[in-house]
Amino acid sequence: MNRVVIALLILLAVLHQDFWYWDRIEPLVFGFIPIGLAYHIGVSMAAGILWAMAVHYCWPKDVDVPDESFTTADAVLPSERARP
């Protein structure tokens, strides 16, 4: 599934280049949105769906840092704490 989601995201980036609607106004979606704009609104919606799939199926395992790994010595780096 991981690879399917990645492939779909790459496909979406390719489909973003909708040269086939370059010189077209009609059909007007809902009677007022030119097809070139409506297509790209669709690309935005598809991106939302695909990223939801990515979050579900491709969640990286190395980003869930437990709370105890950060102490509230508050953003003072070890190298800076050692300075005179």
Partner: protein, 554 residues
């Protein structure tokens, strides 16, 4: 006070004053829970949940550029602006949060980073890298802040026209009594400075959540109201089909050019009969359209976005932001682009809504709102524009303060020489200085720079620093020398091209059909790869720290 006795300009002033008062109150409330430590002031003690993170990120990334810039650019060049910026951003912003944001959050939490420069110093084992990166990041943030300064002053001046005719005089009689540009920008800067000073990043996140809701709701309301006044969306688009059809597509055929010339001649011979002055078609370049994909990579390097990423309570809190980003960008951009297109041909009461001689695209949205919305609605919508402007300026101001306090003063003078309270104060003072300089620059550049073009130059610079960031996270062979080479190549190429484009004053520049960001990005990537491959790789300890130890957490 009797609201009906106020003229439209005064109503706008009242609503905007109430709105700014609400922001100051929120800043005061957040001050009650602020602990004056570096981690609380600059990263809200890493405690924000999913919704607040989403709202803050949207509020920060969707600036005046998204409202005023998008509608102005749609008015100038048509629907192409949505594909160039909004749909690309929907795909790529989410990718940046997923691939870069969560990783940096994990490193930040594990090693206590508050700024990007702290991460780069550790990753590239270079103490001096901060001295190179700091001025570059500040210099790139200044044009972005200028976008806010210019937009807020312009919008306030347009929507408050007629408010105080005895106080404020203008050469242009249509602006008589308006809050002047210099005062509108000044008030905006002061209000933002106040609430970030009061509440730090937590106060900013609260205010941004409110502002994001406001400009999302008002953006849609604005589109609906304007369409309604133009006889409905179908009629509004019909007027564009009649007068400026090329704004509804991306190409312009010889027939389109011929039709434009004919209509222009008609308008010139009898402007009253033709009503709408046709706008010159601008066919879009397919290569340029594709290369706009580089622009949204800039979000990965925004210092203010890095700061917000660090505020997340856990990596899982990114989920809503990743999914919501493309959808909310669509909700904000689509209505603004439609408004910009309708503005090219809008006729109301037999008159063109946008004056035929208008040259400044930044004024399109304020003018159409002022002319077509009721005074209260117009004022509320102006509040929405301010919400978008301020919700980005605040994060940028805060990032500037954080970088100066932590990366320069704390690091080079000595973190232990200052209390947290002193460091926060130093950060605040630096913010005031940079904002004052940006404000003065904004006064000088008023009316000479389009918000869209200035924004694109700024994004191009940040996007060109993306290769070094991505390689730092995913390519263990990236070396210190490679990082320096990439940053210098990006900065040098960016400055050379920016100067060639008259510092953002001239029109959209392309080189061999390519956007400037393509060339800058390529130069930065080539320098990074070549120099990294021929120089000494990072130490095993550093490789283990960034490519091994984080895995232990799971």
């Amino acid at each position: 006070m009797n609201l009906s006795s106020l003229n439209p300009g005064q109503t706008a002033v009242l609503v905007i004053a109430l709105y700014m008062g609400a922001l100051i109150t929120l800043g005061l409330l957040s001050q009650l829970v602020l602990r004056l430590t570096v981690a609380d002031y600059f990263v809200a003690s890493r405690g924000l949940g999913s919704t607040m993170l989403l709202m803050s990120l949207i509020g920060t990334t969707m600036t005046a550029f998204a409202l005023i810039g998008s509608s102005g650019e749609a008015w100038e060049s048509g629907i192409v602006v949505y594909g160039k910026m909004a749909s690309w951003s929907g795909i790529i912003h989410a990718a940046m949060y997923f691939l870069v944001g969560m990783k940096l959050w994990a490193f930040g939490k594990k090693y206590g980073y508050v700024t990007q420069i702290q991460f780069f110093r550790d990753r590239f084992e270079s103490d001096r890298l901060g001295l190179l990166l700091f001025p570059i990041l500040v210099a790139l943030l200044v044009p972005y802040i200028l976008v806010g300064v210019i937009s807020s002053g312009t919008a306030l001046q347009q929507v408050t026209a007629g408010a105080f005719p005895d106080w404020f005089k203008f050469d242009d009689p249509k602006l008589s009594g308006a809050i002047p540009y210099w005062l509108g920008s000044l008030v905006t800067c002061i209000v933002v400075l106040y609430y970030i000073s009061a509440g730090g990043v937590r106060g900013t996140a609260w205010v941004n959540a409110l502002q994001t809701v406001i400009f999302l709701v008002l953006g849609c309301a604005m589109c609906w109201t304007i369409a309604d006044r133009l006889g409905g969306p179908v009629n509004a688009t019909r007027m564009v089909l009649e007068h400026n059809p090329t704004r509804l597509k991306r190409d312009a055929s010889p027939q389109d050019m011929e039709q434009y010339q004919r209509k222009l001649a008609q308008w010139q011979s009898d402007p009253k009969a033709s009503v709408i002055k046709p706008r010159e078609p601008h066919p879009a370049s397919k290569v340029e359209f594709t290369t706009y994909l580089f622009i949204p990579l800039s979000v990965a390097m925004f210092p203010h976005l890095f700061q917000y990423w660090l505020t997340a309570r856990s990596a899982k809190k990114f989920r809503l932001s990743i999914i919501g980003q493309p959808l909310l960008i669509m909700v904000i951009w689509a209505p603004c682009v439609m408004i910009g297109i309708w503005a090219t041909s809008a006729i109301y009461n037999g008159q063109p809504v946008i004056p035929p001689d208008l040259a400044d695209p930044n004024k399109v949205l304020p003018i159409i709102v002022k002319k077509l919305a009721s005074p209260v609605m117009g004022a509320l919508l102006a509040g929405g524009i301010f919400a978008a402007v301020m919700s980005s300026m605040d994060a940028m101001f805060l990032a500037l303060g954080s970088m100066f306090a932590n990366d320069i003063v704390g690091h080079y003078i000595g973190r232990d020489r200052f209390s947290d309270r002193q460091l926060v104060l130093i950060g605040r003072l630096f913010i005031v200085i940079v904002v004052a300089l940006s404000y003065l620059l904004g006064l000088k550049l008023a009316g000479t720079r389009g918000v869209f073009k200035l924004g694109v130059w700024c994004f191009s610079g940040f996007a060109s620093l993306f290769p070094v960031l991505f390689a730092a996270i995913y390519w263990r062979r990236t070396t210190k020398a490679g990082a320096y080479a990439s940053i210098l190549a990006a900065a040098g190429t960016w400055f050379w091209l920016f100067r060639d484009a008259g510092y953002g004053a001239s029109g959209e520049h392309t080189y061999w059909g390519l956007t400037p960001v393509t060339l800058i990005f390529t130069a930065a990537t080539v320098a990074l790869l070549l120099v990294s491959l021929v120089t000494r790789p990072p130490s095993p300890a550093t490789v283990a720290k960034f490519f091994g130890t984080v895995h232990n957490a799971h």
